[in-house]
C-alpha cells in the first residue's frame, strides 16, 4: 500500500506520482553524424577549450563547457566558425537539484544555416564573465539574467536591473520565488508611496478576482441602474435614464432628434 500523505495542500505537491513513470527525453545524437557540427566541435577542441559533453538534439548541437571558457568559446565561434549571432542568452534554475544555474548561449550562423548552444554550469553565487564585448545583444540579456535569476555578471558596463524596479528584492524567475510574490512584492507599492504604516489602512491585496459580491454596490452596479458610492442595494431599483433639458434634466443638454438631423448622402458635397 502507498504511504498516506496529508492532502490539505495538493497544489503544493502532487500526492500521487506514478513510480514507474519515466520523463520522456528528446533523443540525443552523436556529433559525428553531422559534418558541419563535427567540424565546429573540432575547432573548439583544438583551441584548448575543455568540452565536458557534446551532442546533437533537435538538429542543434549542444556543447557543455567550463564557465570560465565562455568568452573564449564565443569569440572562437564568432570569428572562426561563422556563428555571428547570439540570438539568446539566459539561465536555467537548478538550485534545488544541483545548487546552481545552467547558463546557455544560443548561437546562429547565417552562412551555415545552423544553430548551436553553448552551455555551462555555475554555482548559485559564482560570477560569470560578461560576453557583452563580443555581442551587443548580450548587454540587455545579461541584465535580464541578473534581474530574473540573480546570476552575477563580471565586467558588465551597466549592471542594473532591467525589468523590475531598482529597489526590488528577490529574483522572480527562480523556482523558489512564488508567482504571486512574497511579502515584499505584495506591499511594494504601498510601502514605497505611503510608507509601511499605511499597510493596515489599505489592507492586503484581494487576489481572487473572480469573486463577485452582488450586494456590493460600491464596486458593481448593473448598466442603466448605476448607484452612487455607498448607496443601499435595492433589487427593485428603477432604470436611471440620462435626463435632458427638455425633461427637466441637465441644463443646456438637449436630446438628439433624428428626424431633425440632416443626412448627407452626396459624399462629394
Amino acid at each position: 500500500m502507498r504511504a498516506y500523505t496529508p492532502k490539505e495542500n495538493v497544489q503544493k505537491k502532487a500526492y500521487y506520482t506514478d513510480r514507474y513513470w519515466v520523463a520522456p527525453q528528446v533523443a540525443k545524437f552523436d556529433v559525428e553524424s553531422d559534418a558541419v557540427f563535427s567540424e565546429d566541435l573540432k575547432a573548439i577542441k583544438d583551441a584548448k577549450i575543455t568540452v565536458l559533453e557534446a551532442f546533437i538534439q533537435v538538429d542543434q548541437m549542444v556543447v557543455y563547457i567550463k564557465p570560465e571558457d565562455n568568452v573564449a568559446t564565443l569569440e572562437l565561434l564568432r570569428d572562426e566558425c561563422g556563428y555571428t549571432q547570439l540570438s539568446e542568452l539566459s539561465a536555467i534554475d537548478w538550485i534545488s537539484k544541483r545548487g546552481g544555474f545552467e547558463v546557455f548561449y544560443q548561437m546562429l550562423s547565417m552562412t551555415k544555416r545552423k544553430r548551436l548552444r553553448i552551455k555551462c554550469f555555475i554555482d548559485e553565487k559564482q560570477p560569470i564573465e560578461s560576453v557583452q564585448s563580443l555581442f551587443r545583444s548580450a548587454d540587455w540579456a545579461e541584465r535580464e539574467m541578473y534581474d530574473m535569476f540573480g546570476v552575477i555578471i563580471n565586467n558588465h558596463p551597466f549592471m542594473k536591473r532591467i525589468l523590475m524596479p531598482d529597489d526590488w528584492e528577490g529574483h522572480p524567475l527562480r523556482k523558489t520565488y512564488p508567482l504571486q510574490g512574497d511579502e515584499f512584492a505584495a506591499w511594494y507599492e504601498v510601502d514605497k508611496i505611503f510608507g509601511k504604516e499605511a499597510r493596515d489602512i489599505i489592507g492586503p491585496e484581494i487576489r481572487d478576482t473572480a469573486r463577485v459580491d452582488r450586494y456590493d454596490t460600491e464596486r458593481f452596479a448593473r448598466l442603466g441602474h448605476e448607484v452612487p458610492k455607498g448607496a443601499e442595494f435595492n433589487p427593485d431599483q428603477e432604470k436611471t435614464p440620462l435626463a435632458y433639458q427638455e425633461d427637466d434634466g441637465v441644463f443646456l443638454i438637449e436630446g438628439f432628434e433624428e428626424d431633425k438631423s440632416q443626412i448627407i448622402r452626396d459624399r462629394k458635397r
Binding site: M164, I202, I206, T209, L242, F251
Partner: protein, 169 residues
Amino acid sequence: MAQHQVNYMQDGGLPVALTSIDKLVNWGRSNSLWALTYGLACCGIEMMASGASRYDFDRFGTIFRASPRQADIMIVAGTLTKKHAEFIKRLYDQMTEPKWVISMGSCANTGGMFNTYATVQGVDRVIPVDLYLPGCAPRPESLQYAVMLLQKKIRSQKAIKTQKPKRLM
C-alpha cells in the same frame, strides 16, 4: 427663407434662461472633461479609438492632453505594474482639483488576469477611483458611456464647496 430675427416669444417671452450657479458650473465642468493621455496597455488602444473620428470623444468635450496640469480626468487604461505605481500617484497629484479618475478595464480594476508579483491588484490601492469600467478591453462605446456617467456624477455634486481633497487615506 432664413430668419434673421430672434424669437422673443420663446421661453416665456424673455431671452433669459433661469438656472443655478451649481448647474451652470457643473455644466461647464462636465462638458469639458480634458483627459490625461494615459494608455498603459491594450485598453489604451480602445481609448485611442474612442478619441478618433469614428467614435469622436470631442463631442463630449473630452480632449486628450499630454500634461497632468491641463487634465481634469485620468482614464487609467491598462495594467498598472508595481514599477509604475509611484508614477501614477505622482501624475495624479500633479493634476489640479477638481479631478476625477476612471479605472478602465479589468486590469486597472482588480489586476485582472495578472494575478502575479509584478501587477498592482487594482489602481484603487494607489489612487482614489470615481468610476470602475468593467471589460477586457471595454469597447469605445463603453468608455463613452462611462464618461457620460461621470458627467452625470459631476452634475449631481455641489459645484461650490470646500473641495475635500480626494486622498486614499
